[in-house]
């Protein structure tokens, strides 16, 4: 058999707040205490030392790799899209282009060397 308590809004707010606080008090009393760890009081930052939070700027290697990654990101994406596109003819075209460039550079270098050696 249920009992309906029809109250005014202010009284109900008071009743609900009291019930809420009462339960909060009981729960707090239940959870206070317990076993405490005796080892290590550092904050957990994914295995990093707390010292890392005191560094005003990133370390030199981190800064170097950050800049490299930032600057070379577009180059990497171009290489990935062209070379690793999954199409064999694109890979062949890319490799053939590079070999052709190297061949042209080698030819120029040989001509330059021969010219310089002959004293022309």
């Amino acid at each position: 058999m249920a009992v309906v308590e029809l109250l005014n809004p202010g009284t109900l707010a008071l009743v609900m707040s009291c019930a809420s606080l009462g339960i909060a008090g009981i729960v707090l009393a239940m959870f206070v205490g317990g076993r405490k760890s005796r080892s290590g009081d550092e904050m957990y930052i994914g295995g990093e030392s707390e010292q890392i939070l005191k560094v005003p700027v990133p370390s030199s290697p981190a800064l170097y790799w950050g800049i490299v990654k930032k600057a070379m990101g577009k180059v990497y994406h171009v290489l990935r899209d062209v070379v690793h596109s999954g199409r064999l003819n694109e890979w062949c075209g890319f490799m053939a282009g590079w070999f052709l460039t190297l061949l042209v550079l080698a030819t120029i270098a040989i001509i330059a060397a021969v010219t310089a050696y002959a004293g022309w």
């Binding site: 904050m43 957990y44 930052i45």
Partner: protein, 333 residues
């Protein structure tokens, strides 16, 4: 009935049914159901060994954290503050159950929907944030800031969705006006008129997404963000603090599903409240809501914070506001 008898019964309701003891048991059941269903959907076993079908696994996990596991004391932490914040959240959720027809002593007042919003949308969130801020840590702060950002859209969506059935019930003459108890008792009627049915459908859709976001289930597990932020605002919780946090989280899911069952699905309708067939129907509807939450959790990946906020605004806040507009139209007509 004498005043002292009502006070005694009310205290019994707060402590046992549907208060702290019952809500804790329901929370453990909800956690087990979510874990088991999600596991089966992902072709895993889920909890299996403790109790029949592993149903006692959440209780075993809780007792292990409460009685056996050590609480790591971090140099800058304030564990008592964390416990206080989480205790307030438990208190707010337990007190909210007294507004539902599930309670033996049912409390009602005109406009008590505001009290529900005050308890569930404000104090639960504030309690969790207070607990998170008790452990200063870059990961905890990142998680807490995401939690605040998500709550800034999920809580208004949830409140707007809750206002839809209460406004419609008031329009249909339920007394007292804007009361959770009166709405729970009359909510089944609201589906049978075209205008209020559309508003209820929008509200149901909206509150399911808002509850998913409020309880940080996938795809809204952005504040915890395992692997990305270790565990976000939960990173430093251990021992009893973690046990209490898990309890609050499960209670939020259980109470959210219970509220949807009463405000949108008619509770035990077509049977009466606190009758045997009514309780069976209520349990079936409650499990149905949990199943939907589990389904969304199982089949979606985590969103980024800006995607999550946009998703809640687009799929929960906007439908809730449209539904509320229709409900106000019905009220004024």
């Amino acid at each position: 009935m004498m005043v002292w008898e009502i006070v005694g019964l009310s205290i019994l309701c707060v402590l046992v049914f549907p208060g702290f003891v019952f809500l804790s048991a329901l929370s453990f059941f909800s956690e087990w159901f979510l874990r088991k269903i999600v596991a089966r959907m992902q072709n895993r076993m889920g909890p299996s060994y403790v109790g029949p079908f592993g149903i006692l696994q959440p209780l075993a996990d809780f007792l292990k954290l409460y009685m056996v596991k050590e609480e790591k004391i971090q140099r800058y932490s304030a564990p008592l503050q964390a416990k206080l914040g989480l205790s307030i959240a438990v208190g707010a959720l337990v007190a909210s159950t007294l507004l539902l027809p599930l309670s033996i002593v049912r409390f009602a007042a005109p406009y008590d929907v505001i009290i529900l919003a005050y308890l569930c949308a404000v104090w639960v969130t504030v309690g969790i944030i207070v607990a998170a801020m008790a452990y200063p840590n870059p990961l905890t702060i990142a998680g807490a800031s995401r939690l605040v950002a998500l709550a800034a859209v999920s809580e208004p969506s949830w409140v707007a969705a809750v206002l839809i059935p209460t406004t419609l019930a008031t329009a249909y003459g339920a007394q007292p006006p804007y009361s959770i108890l009166a709405t729970s008792i009359t909510s089944w009627r609201l589906w049978f008129s075209p205008a209020s049915g559309i508003a209820m459908a929008l509200g149901l859709w909206s509150i399911l997404i808002a509850t998913q976001a409020k309880t940080m289930l996938k795809p809204f597990d952005i504040p915890e963000a395992e692997q990305e932020l270790i565990a976000g605002h939960v990173t430093e919780f251990s021992g009893r603090v973690l046990a209490l946090y898990e309890l609050v989280h499960d209670m939020e899911i259980a109470f959210g599903a219970l509220l949807i069952t009463y405000l949108f699905l008619g509770g035990p309708y077509p049977f009466g409240h606190l009758t045997a067939p009514g309780i069976v129907v209520l349990v079936v509807k409650f499990i149905g809501v949990l199943f939907v939450l589990s389904l969304v959790r199982a089949c979606m990946g985590r969103l980024r914070i800006e995607q999550g906020i946009r998703a809640v605004m687009k799929y929960s806040l906007v439908p809730a506001l449209v539904g509320l507009g229709i409900a106000i139209g019905v009220l004024l007509a």
